[in-house]
Assembly symmetry: C2
């Protein structure tokens, strides 16, 4: 199967499988069935089989897959054995939080430097990553051929910073700012709407509670 023709939902599930398989390996488990993966991750087993098939991994009937083989197949398919260096811009709460999250390197992304417009942040080290002044971004990004920019700046400067990143050769942006970026089509953008997500959860809960109150009839009425 050609790499580009893999369905997006499959692409989104493979990282979950990988994450899960790595934990199985850590526990010393050697074999796993598609059925078990499906049950543990809430995906139908036929879908798990289809998803794993794109990586070229062959399970054996009744025995399943070797955990190690599956890990290598997914790693190769996702091209995660080539770690890509990333620059993060915006070392506020969220940026700091992301710097502290070790899981990204497994997904082929390594944050090698952070940048911030505030003099208060510049010069700090967060989880071993230096916070540099914004002015250093262009020169360093070009010299280091940085492919990924992580955007954790406030909404009103996000577009401008994203354009600056792209102008310095960044090809993919992981956007946490709550705006829709307007960038050339060839730029890869992944949006994570953390703030909207918790806001919507909170709002839905309040609507849910109000409807519970509205439908609660006193026992004697």
């Amino acid at each position: 199967m050609r790499a580009e023709s893999v369905p997006e939902p499959t692409l989104r599930r493979l990282p979950s499988y990988y994450h899960y398989l790595v934990r199985l390996r850590e526990k010393g488990q050697e074999m796993i069935s598609a059925a078990q993966i499906g049950e543990d991750l809430g995906v139908h087993h036929t879908q798990v089989r289809k998803d794993l098939a794109v990586t070229g991994s062959q399970g054996k009937p009744k025995v399943g897959h070797r955990v190690e083989d599956l890990i290598v197949s997914i790693e190769n398919f996702l091209n995660w054995n080539n770690v890509t260096d990333a620059f993060l811009v915006g070392a506020g709460h969220l940026g700091t939080a992301l710097l502290g999250y070790a899981g990204f390197e497994r997904a082929g992304v390594k944050i090698v430097a952070a940048f911030d417009a505030s003099a208060k942040m510049v010069g700090k080290k967060i989880q071993g990553v230096s916070v540099l002044p914004m002015e250093k971004f262009p020169d360093l990004a070009r010299r280091m051929h940085i492919g990924i920019g992580i955007l954790t700046v406030p909404a009103e400067v996000a577009q401008e910073v994203a354009e600056m990143m792209v102008g310095c050769g960044v090809q993919a942006i992981w956007n946490f700012a709550p705006i829709v970026l307007d960038l050339p089509d060839e730029v890869i953008v992944e949006n994570v709407a953390l703030y909207s997500s918790i806001g919507v959860l909170s709002r839905k809960l309040s609507v849910h509670r109000k409807s519970l109150l509205a439908t609660a009839t006193p026992p004697n009425s």
Copy 2:
């Protein structure tokens, strides 16, 4: 407009507007137009007007909205002036990161305690929030009427922990575990697929780079 009939995309944009407006207020700006909001956040201005209309806020032609009024309208509409207490389960890297992110309280959610199965984590304080043993969850959640559970545990225990939460009265789950939770319909679930998102970004970038190489023809061929 009835609260329940608001389109989901509007619901997802309102937190972004709010976040943006609060920052304008911090800078001392008093008035704002829908056109300017649209431009800064990458949303068409007619859509911004429709979105703001659901909150009941009335702008004036040519003058726009008072920033303070808009903030209050959105706050009231989203019911964010009632902060809901949340428990977080899984104080690993991601859980710790979320505890460090101050933005949630503005969205009406306050993380009041964290829980972890590991004895190494229990007893710690992260950003002023205590990490308690899992056994304490049921009793505390019931006594404190906890409405929101934040799930930052590994995939293979996420379903089990989510069921435990729901059994203790939790009505809404913010799920960061890379699985599809199977829960009763009345439970509100918001999924944030952080790990898939960065994985997909990394994968798309590698495909993009390969295609650049494939189409790069030497000048003399």
